[in-house]
């Protein structure tokens, strides 16, 4: 049986909890790049696992084969896999920010891993902490660079029940960069998420 997606009220709480997590991510990026980061409201939506790759491509308008993806698994009370997807422009902006020389793939790879660690970490740890759930991470790994989105999302641990898509945009003084986080979770995790969100809601 598939997990029931969150209702409107639960989603509203989730959106705010993610917003708070992103505030922490923004502060970490600001420190890393030594710039001020203008935050925007993250867009959050749920898509079905069965055809989530198609849906993710549609949502991010992800055509072509110039995408980079980093994968990071998490486990404990919340369990699943997160993918951070960067467009070619985003990768270049990031490299430019930190002053990497063009064509240095090793350095760019390391940068993508660092930024993903910050984004996924701040977002998911931020969410888990606020709703009182435990979460641990496996180190992030690069799935691919210069690939179509479908190739990046194909390599997964297993089939998951629900997919949460979070679109984040960070606007830096030196140029914008945007990134999409795709979070896949088990049915048990969705129930944990739901119960945590309800507790958080009722704490006010």
């Amino acid at each position: 049986m598939k997990a029931e997606p969150l209702n409107v009220e639960e989603n509203e709480v989730l959106q705010e909890v993610i917003n708070i997590g992103m505030g922490q991510a923004g502060a970490s990026l600001a420190k890393l790049f030594d710039v001020f980061v203008n935050l925007s409201v993250p867009r959050v939506s749920w898509v079905n696992d069965a055809d989530f790759i198609d849906q993710v491509e549609k949502l991010v308008e992800g055509h072509g084969s110039s995408w980079a993806g980093v994968r990071q698994a998490f486990y404990n009370q919340l369990e699943g896999e997160a993918f951070a997807i960067y467009g070619a422009a985003g990768c270049q902006q990031l490299a430019g920010l930190i002053g990497y020389v063009d064509g240095d793939n090793g350095a760019e790879e390391e940068l993508l891993l660092d930024v993903t660690n910050i984004l996924v970490g701040a977002c998911l740890v931020g969410v888990a902490k606020q709703i009182g759930k435990k979460l641990d991470f496996v180190a992030p790994t690069l799935v691919g660079m210069g690939k179509p989105i479908s190739d990046l999302l194909y390599k997964r641990d297993r089939e998951w029940d629900q997919c949460l898509l979070i679109e984040v945009n960070f606007c830096l003084e030196e140029g914008d960069f945007s990134c999409h986080l795709v979070t896949l979770m088990s049915e048990a995790s969705i129930e944990q998420l739901r119960s945590g969100l309800i507790d958080f809601m009722e704490s006010y």
Binding site: I20, Q24, G26
Partner: protein, 124 residues
């Protein structure tokens, strides 16, 4: 006499959380706004002597509201309530005239404390 309190946040949940966290016994008339434009419209009508202001919002963000208050010479005591925890964000809002800065997530106690610190509410 009751105080005109304006709550500005794009998140309906966050506005509800603020409403529920307002100190009991504080005599306020509450107006809500879901973005910066709505906030400025309410302020022009005198509905915000005290403002609880979110920063990250669509249409017009909290920095824009503070600039609007300054440029139009509106009277408002603003406390920023935000998830943006960059030191520079706090510095920016304070130099734009905000009286205080409260980090999200907040609770009853931290909200009462910042309101007291800013001199807009006193307990008992």
């Amino acid at each position: 006499m009751s105080v005109a309190l304006l709550i500005v946040d794009d998140s309906g949940f966050s506005r509800k959380a603020m409403l529920k966290s307002i100190p009991e016994g504080w005599d306020v008339d509450i107006t809500q706004a879901a973005n910066g434009e709505e906030a400025l419209a309410a302020l022009r009508k005198g509905l915000g002597e005290v403002v609880l202001l979110d920063l990250t919002m669509p249409v017009l963000d909290g920095f824009g509201v503070l600039e609007g208050i300054r440029d139009e010479g509106l009277e408002a005591k603003v406390v920023v309530v935000s998830a943006d925890i960059q030191p520079k964000a706090k510095f920016r809002v304070m130099s734009l005239g905000a009286l205080g800065f409260l980090q999200k997530p907040f609770n009853k106690e931290s909200l009462a404390a910042i309101l007291a610190e800013c001199g807009v509410y006193s307990e008992g």
